[in-house]
């Protein structure tokens, strides 16, 4: 429990460090497995609502060029911090820019910062974690000692330091979050790999003459992927908050682009006169980050065959 930061994001106890591995036999998962998982997922209403909400936000952000009423970085009104009105559904910010348009365009960056670095970290962690957990010995030793050192840094601090070393921008945030996150997912992948490694079907595969690479890709990976994916999904919400925080500090997205963190920072100047400029992007960050947590919960139940049949 040393590096607690992402564990701290509301993760149910059993999604933490000690991964619960719901074993799926490598060959029978596939389309039928997916359909079963979807049926199980659909049953949990809050996860379903969260997923629909996320898809709607993602869709609206993707369509921003088509549906945003105004240019996000151009002033559309002379009335600074204009209230909500017809034509300006969510009002204007301190520089007279349309809040709704900025929200739509900003969503693209904020969502990307939540999803992309987490997926990259997941890929990296699968490689390192399986290598350490399956092949063990010195690779395990080296990897774990390095991770121990990284765990001495709180995640947010590490991300801030990395971000401050590079020139500010979206790429910097992506790299910073990816590097800061990898140790946490790696730890989970390693634990999961170790528990799969000892199971009889791996021994059976060995006995049947399967090569190490085949065993890793066909039998270990599918079983490790599920808990890792669940953990990563839950982390995405937390990373959205971290990414917004970096942007809020000016280490992330740079003007004229704006993500939701930048929008909150911009709102500070007119906090008293027009609180909606600050409140709206903050509420979006909370809702999306919560949705990721719920989707992660639903995925965990859906991907674990033992839970599914309960």
């Amino acid at each position: 429990m040393k590096g607690h930061s992402p564990d701290r994001a509301i993760v149910p106890a059993d999604a933490r460090g000690s991964a619960s591995v719901g074993v799926t036999s490598g060959t029978r998962s596939g389309l039928r497995g997916l359909a079963g998982a979807w049926r199980a997922y659909r049953r949990d209403r809050s996860s379903l609502i969260a997923l629909v909400f996320l898809l709607m936000v993602a869709g609206a952000s993707l369509l921003a060029p088509a549906i945003a009423p105004h240019d996000p970085s151009d002033a559309v009104t002379f009335r600074h911090a204009a209230p909500m009105s017809e034509g300006l559904v969510l009002g204007a910010d301190g520089d007279g820019r349309d809040v709704l348009s900025r929200l739509l365009w900003g969503g693209r960056i904020s969502l990307m910062v939540a999803v992309l670095p987490t997926l990259l970290a997941l890929a990296l962690s699968l490689v390192i974690g399986i290598a350490a957990g399956y092949f063990g010995r010195w690779s395990d030793h080296v990897a774990m000692r390095i991770l121990d050192m990284v765990f001495a840094f709180p995640l947010v601090l590490l991300a801030i330091v990395i971000a401050s070393m590079l020139s500010p921008g979206i790429l910097t945030v992506t790299v910073a979050i990816m590097v800061a996150l990898t140790p946490y997912i790696t730890r989970l992948v390693r634990t999961a790999t170790q528990s799969v490694k000892g199971l009889p079907f791996i021994e059976a595969a060995h006995a049947a003459g399967a090569g190490e690479l085949a065993i890793v890709t066909r039998y270990v990976l599918p079983n490790v992927l599920a808990p890792a994916l669940v953990y990563a999904t839950t982390l995405m919400g937390f990373m959205m908050v971290v990414g917004a925080g970096l942007s809020f500090l000016g280490l992330g997205t740079q003007p004229p682009d704006a993500d939701w963190g930048v929008m909150v920072a911009d709102g500070r100047a007119v906090l008293r006169k027009a609180p909606h400029v600050t409140i709206i992007p903050g509420v979006m960050i909370i809702l999306v980050s919560l949705s990721f947590a719920f989707v992660g919960d639903g995925l965990r139940d859906a991907l674990d065959p033992r839970r599914r049949h309960r």
Binding site: S5, I10, A152, L157, V241, V264, R272, I279, G282, I286
Partner: protein, 323 residues
Amino acid sequence: MGWFIAGRLLAAIPVLFGVSVVVFTLLHFAPGDVASVLAGPMASEAIKEAIRESLGLNRPLPVQFLKWLGNLLHGDFGTSLVYKRPVAEFIFEKFFNTALMAVSGALLACMIGITIGIFAASKAHSLFDRVTMAVTMVVGSTPLFWLGLILVLLFALTWRVFPATGMTSPVGGGGFLDVVRHLVLPAVAAAMPSAAIISRTARACMIETLGQNYIRVARAKGLRRNLILRKHAFRNALPPIATVCGLELAFLLTGVFFVEVVFAWPGLGNALYYAIIAHDIPTVQAAVLLIALSFVVINLAVDVLNAWLDPRIRVSTARQGGR
């Protein structure tokens, strides 16, 4: 117990060494040339070279690292490039300010979190339970910087109850009560997400403990509810709750980074923020080191506290150590 603590302390040494290596190398490769910052924009190449020579910047990297580490162990954090004075002169004061806020935030979070958790657990699945758990879920995913701004909006701008920024009033301030008044908003902002996490953990642990057989026996004996909750259930649910509280304190040391920036609290996070912007590498190194160091120390303390609260951990670790 003595062996347990000694073992943990020994294990912390390589970690701390690793931390210093990471801090040194990370910031060594940071952009911006120290010599040009110190010499100013008009300086000639010869002057910059002289500065590099005097600071030892042209030596091999391991040599620089050992010199830096040696200075560090003597309490010399280098000279701030912005303030032009030794970092050690001001960094500890900042650290104290941060600790003040982190500790008060953590205490607040523990009190609120544990109270809510116990109440929710004692009335599990009631309306109170469901509402508070929904609220903690939302608060737990709220960005600290946004929460800080909302508190400023409500309590400083709208109702004018507490000051919005700083640690003391500019005129006639500086007394104990003045600092407390300034501390309230940032401490509450820092405490809220932690309180949410702690209350969820406390609830889960209490519900688990309340389901045990000995609780049923206590009830059957006719003991009062409060007594059962306090003496029988809480004592046994305490170790995991204490762990979370400790981890939240560690988290707050970095979490306050955002809170300090929002409230202009003169702590380590604020110093780090401005040092990063100004490329003041020695200050950044000192701030990061201090935070990482306290992080390691708190984690260590949590381990020890846990072993003290829960004899089972102590025994199993001692047995492993004796192998």
